[in-house]
């Protein structure tokens, strides 16, 4: 369950950053991304999938969340 910091890059894409793993990549898809909820399965640029229970209301980025391996 790594702590993941999610922030927006200059282009407005979400960046998925795990400091301990030296991993930083853009978020390609988010399972639930509506005005009410954000979360579920998240796929990032290198193809790996991560899971977080949907959060409602959606968090304000940047923020640190705890993800599970999806």
């Amino acid at each position: 369950m790594p702590s993941v910091m999610i922030r927006k890059n200059e282009k407005g894409e979400l960046l998925f950053y795990v400091a301990k793993k030296d991993l930083e990549d853009i978020v390609v898809s988010v399972e639930t991304d509506t005005p009410e909820t954000w979360g579920g399965e998240v796929e990032i640029g290198d193809g790996s999938k991560w899971y977080i229970d949907p959060i409602s209301p959606p968090p304000a980025f940047p923020t640190t969340l705890r993800f599970k391996r999806g």
Partner: protein, 491 residues
């Protein structure tokens, strides 16, 4: 760009790897690559931030070096206690030339060495009592200090001392910031983890001290310089440019910085990040907690300075944008004169770099402004994200090496034959004896500053002074002169 093709560079890497035993070869192979602009992410072509191969000569430092030497050390009005045996502090004392204003020993302590000088009995019975006594002595002897950091050396972690408890007790007594830093040298693979630990210590023990205090009058143009260590006066040369364009520099991290500046940083509007490697952690934290955006900039060489100034101005209103243009125009004549003077003398020369932090990619622009070309570059302790950024900066088919060993570097130099090498003091004398011009690029070879327009003039002069020095022709001993018609080095 380089006169070596991709195939030639690749075969050079294979040739150099030939001497290693099977296992070491396999490990080292992953750390050497030929730059390829088509690759987006460095992890596909190079491995970094891994443990060095035992037996191979690396020039990396330790976590203590990253914390005490790099991040915390330059904070001038705090006392940095090297907690443990005497050597670590003494041998790293004042070597980095991070200049500061103040009276050493009275209100600033940058070049002094404070250590708890561990003895056998401290290892056996624990050193917490000694540390507590030391902190009290420091308070008596240097009453104007603004706080203390306890920089742990290896034994502290091994014997399990509770330095946090001592720090808290002392803080209760004096009310000053006492920061215990768990930067024992054995942690991690290089100084890079030390930067991270130091950043986390700043976050946990120092940064939030003035969160509920609004007495500091802020303006819309407040910025902080992060990751500039004022080597030879670098931060000052950067600071004047920012101030001339209308910004107010509230804090310098950490060259010529103070604990009070650190505490005020959460109140700025923008964090300017020069050394990404050592300060990105705290920038990310401030972005999350205080909503302060951060941006990377590069103040080496006029082309990059111009780009950076405009990029910084984008965050502010028109008055700053005008200010940026004004600054660029103001210095144009000055830097053009420098280029006109030195470019003809340096044009077309090849440079190989092997440094740490931000320089393997940041100084490339400055060399290119002088018409020079970087034919090889590498980081001592870079991570993937550093290489991601480097791929875009250097030419296609350029040699890139991570945590290069002494042997590999020497062989690369023999084959690539650069006109100038920029690396650390541990390589300096090897290459000078080989007759190759060398600049020590960690602390600017006792020169500097190299940042900003002022620094560029000094940079150009230094490179010319080294490269075109007549001494390089005289390095071949007389008994070799007959058999060898010419010397290896440049003119």
């Amino acid at each position: 760009m380089s006169n070596m093709t991709r195939e030639e560079t690749q075969s050079l890497i294979e040739e150099v790897l030939e001497v290693y035993p099977e296992k070491a070869k396999k490990i080292r192979e992953a750390h050497l690559t030929v730059n390829d602009h088509t690759i987006e992410q460095s992890k596909k072509c190079i491995k970094s931030n891994r443990k060095s191969v035992p037996g191979a000569m690396t020039i990396r430092g330790c976590a203590y070096a990253g914390s005490k030497g790099v991040v915390w050390g330059p904070i001038k009005d705090m006392i940095h206690v090297s907690h443990g045996p005497v050597g670590c502090g003494q041998y790293s004392r004042a070597g980095r030339r991070n200049y500061y204003v103040g009276t050493t020993g009275i209100n600033t302590y940058g070049t002094m060495n404070f250590t708890s000088d561990f003895q056998e009995k401290d290892i056996v019975f624990g050193g917490d009592k000694k540390l507590a006594k030391l902190l009290q002595e420091v308070e008596t002897l240097f009453p104007l200090n603004k706080g203390t950091t306890i920089q742990s050396e290896c034994p502290i972690g091994l014997i399990g001392d509770d330095i946090e408890a001592v720090a808290k007790a002392q803080n209760k007594e004096t009310g000053k910031t006492i920061v215990p830093v768990r930067c024992e040298g054995f942690r991690g693979v290089s100084q890079s983890l030390g930067h991270h630990i130091a950043n986390d210590a700043v976050r946990d023990w120092a940064l939030d001290k003035r969160d509920n205090d609004d007495t500091f009058v802020t303006t819309d143009y407040d910025v902080a310089i992060l990751g500039d260590y004022n080597i030879g006066g670098d931060a000052w040369a950067s600071r004047i440019l920012l101030e001339e364009m209308g910004l107010r520099v509230v804090a310098q991290w950490s060259g010529d910085g103070s604990i009070s500046e650190m505490e005020l940083t959460p109140k700025v509007k923008l964090n300017l990040l020069h050394c990404y490697r050592s300060m990105n952690y705290i920038s990310r934290h401030m972005e999350e907690k205080y909503g302060i955006p951060w941006m990377e900039y590069n103040f080496f060489g006029p082309t990059k300075i111009e780009e950076s100034l405009r990029k910084i101005a984008e965050f502010f209103d028109d008055s700053i944008k005008e200010g940026a243009e004004r600054v660029i125009a103001k210095y144009k004549a000055e830097y053009q004169a420098v280029i006109d003077k030195y470019r003809p003398r340096l044009e077309g020369k090849k440079v190989m770099l092997y440094i740490g932090g931000l320089r393997p990619r940041h100084v490339i622009g400055a060399y290119e402004d002088l018409g020079m070309e970087v034919v090889g570059t590498g980081y001592e302790f870079g991570h993937n994200d550093d290489y991601d950024r480097t791929i875009k900066e250097v030419g296609d088919a350029t040699l890139i090496y991570d945590d290069v060993t002494g042997y590999e570097f020497e062989e690369f130099v023999k084959k690539v034959k650069p006109d100038l090498i920029g690396s650390g003091v541990k390589e300096k004398y090897i290459f000078q004896k080989m007759g190759i011009p060398f600049r020590q690029m960690h602390s600017w070879d006792y020169s500097g500053p190299y940042h900003g327009y002022d620094g560029f003039a000094i940079f150009a002069r230094d490179m010319d002074m080294t490269l075109n020095n007549p001494c390089w022709d005289n390095l071949t001993p007389p008994w070799h002169k007959d058999s060898k018609a010419e010397a290896i080095a440049a003119e």
